[in-house]
């Protein structure tokens, strides 16, 4: 069975992106697949490469990167949510004349159509909200 996972919460501000990661790992461990993880609302903060948590706290963002890259799963951060919150890849930083980009490796910035496409094509959609 194919899952789409939607994450609305920022690391540390909410538990959502930690819960979603545990769920995503369990989906794969159960023999199911994930067509896409879509980060929306404050969830896009997960894609910020500049997060530097204390060493005794879980590096949630890096754990997501490892999960996405290691399992070849698309981690999409919504472009409109990203632009509002200052998560930019080089293209967008250039487009909006900003001084730097900060999109973490393993994440892709893309449009809301990716959320709809993933939802339509998955067998189950599970949202982790705040």
């Amino acid at each position: 069975m194919n899952f789409a996972i939607v994450v609305h919460g920022a690391p540390y501000s909410s538990e959502a992106c930690l819960s979603a990661l545990k769920f995503a790992k369990a989906v794969l461990a159960s023999g199911h697949s994930i067509n896409r993880v879509f980060f929306y609302h404050d969830g896009v903060h997960t894609a910020n490469s500049l997060i530097a948590p204390p060493q005794d706290e879980a590096p949630v963002s890096e754990q997501w990167q490892e999960f996405g890259t290691g399992n070849n799963i698309e981690l999409i951060a919504c472009i409109a949510s990203c632009l509002r919150r200052g998560i930019l890849d080089e293209t967008e930083a250039d487009r909006y004349e900003k001084s730097g980009s900060n999109l973490a490796p393993g994440f892709t910035i893309s449009g809301l159509g990716q959320l709809i496409d993933a939802s339509i094509n998955a067998d189950r959609v599970v949202t982790f909200g705040v």
Partner: protein, 117 residues
């Protein structure tokens, strides 16, 4: 093609959630049949006469008027939540059906996917 029910439960302006939910609904309507159900304080998104010029947020409540153009035909709200807030449908800026609990359960059952905002 999967149909999608969008459930809106956040009031407007206090956070961006309501506005970003609407953006998702508008995008969804380009792909497939989408409906929307307003529950809890999400009903407050529909209240007519919102004026945000002084606040500085976008008055996206006006965008609900475009849902018809976007092909979103079923727009519903929770009747118990409507009554609990002392509202009636005349307070809303667009026409909305109000559903009792059983009708809302059927509404959810009749869509393939649910996206909550």
């Amino acid at each position: 093609m999967s149909t999608i029910l969008f459930v809106f439960s956040r009031p407007p302006h206090g956070s961006i959630n309501a506005q970003e939910g609407l953006d998702a609904l508008l995008m969804g309507s380009a792909f497939t049949t989408c409906s929307v159900l307003f529950v809890g304080d999400g009903l407050m998104q529909l209240v007519a006469g919102q004026s945000t010029d002084d606040l500085g947020t976008k008055n996206f409540s006006l965008s609900f008027g475009a849902l018809k153009d976007y092909g979103v035909t079923r727009i519903a709200c929770s009747k118990p939540d409507l009554l609990a807030r002392g509202l009636n449908k005349d307070d809303f800026l667009i026409e909305v059906e109000s559903l009792n609990a059983a009708a809302m359960q059927a509404f959810i059952r009749n869509h393939d996917k649910v996206l909550n905002f």
